[in-house]
Subunit: 496 residues, 2 copies
């Protein structure tokens, strides 16, 4: 056994050495990161388009911030999670760290530019030195898609819009049924107070409650009592509350609850939940929203309503956990302002990597081919020595805005040009031959049906457009990216 292991180690070492004995480097991406291949990029683009379209529909502007911040900008914002921040090496100059989320850079941006009102989205990568679980969409480099509303406004109006946005996006992405859990930091704190949790244990008990979606109540209680030193009585009282789920009715009931109503904080939170549900009813989204007292999102900076969306059919495939989350953080911007001026904020972050994982699995399971380009036509030749004619024609097409390719060979075989079209899903071929050149025409071939028709050079561009471009109905603003991702076979079959 031991000899086997030694041999294996030596073989591995040998593999790392090239034929000439030179050390070969490892060809890989850093731990917890990945490349996106063209197919994954096509799916990513589709998801981003849906999300951006929704953010724009709600009137958001967009900003961008650097991938790294001064180290001190991130200090003291993430509690225990600070150890997961990537620092840059001190190469002289400022001490820098990679951004951990988009919320802290947003708050820094607001304070730095003295902005008190903005509705913005920001889609960018963030970095966490966490234990990656890549099959479940957990990476060390991953995208966040954030939408936030900053400003002093009337209660729950922007908050309700954030939930409407989550509802719209998850609906449109068609990921199956989902639930949006809602709670309020003030209700949690009030609940802890009336259950007899000492003030200094609020945060740690809160993070134990947060584990209820992965652990049974018995185990959560054990952790509270045995590890965190809470009295069994207090734990049991918490246990009763955190099992409660409902809607506006539950908020009303708890406002009457003799214990809960003793906490002013809890009452403020409960009144806001009531108001929130009233607005959500007007948005017709209450079917997916549930007031859940066990929801206790980790981040320190939340001050009011918090929410999290989960897919409820996800057990079938891979469990992906929450796909969106957010809440109100009225104090964060003030941490950056020299005079501590508060800018109330509420926002939502879409967990895009988990959504990618699901979409990728769906695409792989589907018989439909994902196209990675939008090429409409290949410029081909049926005979030798026609490279110059192909170059001239393709240049005309490019100049007319047609998406076109040609093979980079002087004399490619017609068959290999046609095969390339089949593989890449290119719907049309413009075939040039001696006869066509003489007649001033191009032979237009429909790849799927093998139909061929001579088109005069003058009509070629409009004919290509007619046959391949999505028809925009008057007044429709959505370019049909869906269409472009679909297998071309279908497109062509729809032709008269």
């Amino acid at each position: 056994m031991q000899i086997d292991e030694e041999v294996a180690k030596l073989l591995e070492l040998k593999a790392q050495l090239g034929d000439d004995g030179k050390t070969q480097f490892v060809l890989k991406t850093p731990k917890g990161t990945r490349d996106y291949n063209p197919k994954q990029m096509a799916i990513r683009e589709k998801v981003f388009n849906t999300i951006i379209r929704c953010f724009k529909r709600h009137g958001a502007e967009t900003i961008d911030t650097p991938v790294f911040e001064l180290k001190e900008t991130l200090t003291g914002k993430y509690g225990e999670d600070s150890k997961l921040i990537y620092d840059l090496k001190d190469q002289g100059g400022e001490l820098l760290s990679l951004r951990y989320d988009l919320t802290v850079p947003f708050a820094r941006y607001l304070a730095m530019n003295k902005i008190t009102n903005i509705k913005r989205y920001h889609i960018a990568k963030v970095y966490r030195r966490d234990n990656p679980a890549m099959t479940r969409g957990r990476y060390r480099e991953f995208y966040q898609c954030d939408f936030d509303i900053a400003g002093q406004y009337d209660a729950m109006i922007p908050d309700a819009e954030c939930l409407k946005i989550v509802h719209e996006i998850l609906n449109e992405l068609d990921l199956g049924d989902f639930r949006i859990k809602v709670n309020d930091r003030r209700i949690l704190d009030g609940m802890f107070a009336v259950c007899g949790v000492p003030d200094d244990k609020f945060r740690t008990i809160c993070s134990t409650v947060d584990k209820l979606d992965k652990m049974s109540w018995e185990d959560v209680k054990k952790e509270m009592v045995n590890e965190k030193g809470l009295s069994e009585e207090a734990a049991d009282q918490i246990g009763e509350y955190v099992s409660m789920q409902g809607g506006m009715d539950l908020a009303e009931r708890l406002l009457q609850d003799h214990k809960m109503s003793q906490s002013k904080q809890a009452c403020a939170g409960l009144s806001d939940i009531k108001l929130l549900f009233k607005y959500l009813q007007l948005f017709h989204v209450t079917d997916k929203v549930v007031f859940d007292l066990s929801l206790a999102r980790g981040l320190d900076y939340y001050t009011g309503v918090i929410y999290e969306a989960v897919l409820t059919q996800a057990e079938e495939s891979v469990s992906v956990g929450s796909v969106a989350g957010g809440g109100r953080y009225d104090g964060l911007v003030g941490m950056f302002d020299p005079k501590g001026r508060r800018v109330p904020c509420v926002g939502v972050s879409i967990g895009i990597e988990r959504i990618f994982s699901i979409m990728e699995q769906k695409a792989e399971a589907s018989p439909q081919k994902v196209r990675t380009t939008e090429v409409q036509i290949m410029v081909a030749s049926a005979q030798k020595n026609l490279l110059e004619e192909r170059l001239q024609l393709i240049s005309e097409l490019w100049n007319a805005g047609i998406k076109a390719e040609l093979m980079y060979k002087k004399n490619p075989k017609l068959l290999s040009q046609l095969q390339y079209c089949e593989e890449a899903g290119i719907p049309l071929v413009a075939i040039l031959g001696e006869q066509e050149l003489k007649d001033g025409v191009v032979k237009l071939r429909v790849v799927a049906t093998r139909e061929e028709v001579d088109i005069s050079r003058a009509d070629l561009i409009s004919e290509i457009k007619r046959r391949t471009e999505p028809v925009y109905l008057m007044g429709s603003s959505e370019p049909c990216t869906e269409f472009l991702l679909q297998s071309t076979t279908e497109q062509v079959e729809q032709e008269p």
Copy 2:
């Protein structure tokens, strides 16, 4: 004087301390980086759309790679510039560096996935610890927009396409007149050889020649002779060649040149330049392309044709230097392959930050307002206590795909709602009042003309679309983003 300085220092120190004496951190982005505000993002989006549309027109797929690579992946690829690479701190685990360009990650990706044929674009940020010159668009964090063709193909066909792409993009961005300089690494090396430059001085003399766009020939010659120890005679011979500019004719003349023709390498390069110009003629782009023997791009990895685009009218505003560049690098992928298999590549990188700088200046100089959102309508109320009705209506609009906003106040004043529309360039307002609700209508107001008309609730959505959405002509695939960025006044005035 000294006292004044001391006082200033103390005041500065005091400013850094809060009222409570706590040290305040500095509110800034790291040196050489910047935030993009919504206006800059609108411009950036427009430029990206133009570039991506061009890359897609040429049938490119897209990929993405992590922002950092294993340190050893970048080692030995950038020569002297390696000192500009950002390293991450060693926090246990792998040693990582931020990517310095997109070409090396691309080559790593090809070798790692054993890809021998691909046409891809990649738009992402890269990082260089260089001396920033932000007014001229030189940052430490900046975008690259790369298009590359990898594969064993017939000579100069993909190379010519790269130049066609530069031509299309610079034309479409409308940055004024431009020139694309072309040369070949083999012509440079052959020229150095026949001029008597010792082999081991090729690279260093080459980097001196590269300075000819910023320095006079006299100064370049001085550097060659005094600093790099080249003989005066050799320098003079180089001086004669590097002053030459032309087209296909110059390549032909140099092929007959008694000295140049002694170098096989130079002849191979000159024949390729001839072929390149033949293809560029078929693309009708030779008016902008010039064969320039003084072009000597720095990067070590180029093996064949090289090119660089410069704006020729840039002196008027700020000098931005080259706005695109690239060339052939047939050896780079082989450096990553354990067996050294070569994958010939040619590509081009668009210098997007410099283009942003110019576009920003143009936008600032223009009377036309840059819109940062695409909102079509504001849902407003003329009386108090209509928040619920506004929420219900805006929800209907969002669900119908209309881009709509409302003010997050229970009872906003009509005037402030209208003012918000003027400022944000929102073209329409849907006004709700008691009377309108009773009549089942909405008062639709055109912000620019103040025209008001009652529209029934049933017709509202189609009326908004008719009045605000760009009309797509059948067969037109370009969504009119231009239109959306324009001042809305114009849009509205075009209405019948």
